[in-house]
Amino acid sequence: MFEHLNPRSPIPLYEQIANRVRLAVASGELRPAAALPSVRQLATELRVNPATVVQAYRDLEGEGFVEMRQGAGTFVREVAPQARARERARQAAALVREMLAQAGRLGVSRQELQAAVTEEIGVGAP
């Protein structure tokens, strides 16, 4: 699940991990009561600082996505559909922002971008 972790990115690793989990919860990939890998497991597997994993899990707990149970592990919480939809919207907005920034760097105008989006997605297609 965490294959795309990029240590070179300016986004801190804990944020990347937390983001991936948020997305998985929002899209339903991770169901409620699913267990996340333990701090030890994930740190070992990804070869990252255990403190990084702890921070990611704590952030997620603060946002209400997961619950850290002493001795048992970290589990996904029941997240209301509105919350999940909000998260998906947030992710979509982030994607678009990045696309716009990229387009700006490449010199692609808004209209050209709009045309490309329409083309790729397909007008009215599901």
């Binding site: 300016p10 990252v48 600082n49 760097r105």
Partner: protein, 298 residues
């Protein structure tokens, strides 16, 4: 927060040139501290001085709260060391090597040593001298971990090892750190490896530590700025200017350190504008940092 390793004003010389001059270094307890520097800048010498293998000319070294070299033997029971070159007895087999070290370390964990041996796929009856380079590296890490130290000092532990072995070695290291709040001091020039898990970075060049900061601050703080116009001086800038050079067309490219997003307001002024802030990964940042330290400042 106490420091696991503290070095103050360390000086050391072999021959006429000073190899280490006025080095200050602090490793907080529980941190994973990456020690970076170009080849020949004195990293291995610093480590040897740190562990009492060499005597400094001047300076104070404190390891896990005790002074080096006075009480070295007692402190070394709590320190796991992996040197650059294979150092174990070539005539002992893997099993005998583990038995040898078990006798010297009261905190040796026999069952875990065996589990690691199996995990690393090290044959019990193979002589250390006959192991491949990767296997030697794995055994040295095993020996350092199995004693369950409070502090791990690793001098280029993955240097020259193939990617699979590197992963195995680092995974075992991080697994240990997850279980126990150990401090890790790891010297390497494989910057991308350190980038994944270090939370502190110390950069050494020419016998001196030029930077010692939390990893995130270094990584995210070094930026390349594309600037329109030609600002006069950067004396009262909130960031640290490392280098500046004219860019093609009008404008300049600045290399800065300690950048934070709100500092963009510095460029609000007539005739000057900030076009772009370019992220540098740790390796690029490290290279640029060294370059700027070696050439005169603007």
């Amino acid at each position: 927060m106490t420091n696991a390793i503290e070095i103050e004003r360390l000086c050391y010389r072999t021959g006429r040139t000073f190899e280490i001059k006025d080095l200050d270094l602090h490793v907080p307890q529980g941190a994973i501290y990456g020690f970076l520097g170009p080849n020949g800048c004195g990293k291995t010498t610093t480590i040897r001085l740190m562990l009492g293998l060499l005597r400094p000319l001047a300076g104070r070294i404190t390891l896990l709260g005790s002074a080096v070299p006075h009480d070295v033997a007692a402190i070394l029971a709590r320190v796991g060391f992996v040197p650059e070159q294979p150092h174990l007895d070539p005539m002992l087999t893997v099993r005998e090597t583990l038995a040898f070290h078990a006798a010297f370390y009261p905190t040796w964990d026999r069952p875990w040593a065996e589990r690691l041996r199996v995990q690393f796929a090290l044959p019990d009856d193979q002589l250390f001298g006959r192991l491949s380079k990767g296997q030697k590296g794995k055994l040295m890490m095993l020996v350092a971990l199995a004693q369950r130290p409070e502090l791990l000092v690793l001098d280029e532990p993955t240097d020259g090892l193939d990617p699979v072995v590197r992963r195995d070695v680092l995974s075992a290291l991080l697994e240990y750190v997850s279980q126990r709040q150990a401090t890790v001091f790891i010297s390497s020039h494989l910057v991308h490896e350190l980038e994944r898990f270090c939370d502190w970075i110390g950069v050494m060049d020419d016998g001196r530590l030029i930077i010692e900061v939390p990893m995130e601050r270094l990584k995210n703080g070094i930026k390349r700025l594309r600037i329109g116009g030609t600002p006069a001086t950067a004396d009262n800038a909130p960031f640290v200017l490392l280098a500046r050079e004219p860019a093609n067309g009008t404008g300049e490219t600045w290399l800065v350190r300690e950048w934070e997003p709100h500092m963009a307001t510095y460029f609000d002024g007539p005739g000057v504008s900030l076009h772009e802030v370019i992220d540098l990964d740790l390796e690029e940042g490290f290279v640029e940092l060294l370059r700027s330290f070696r050439s005169p400042r603007p």
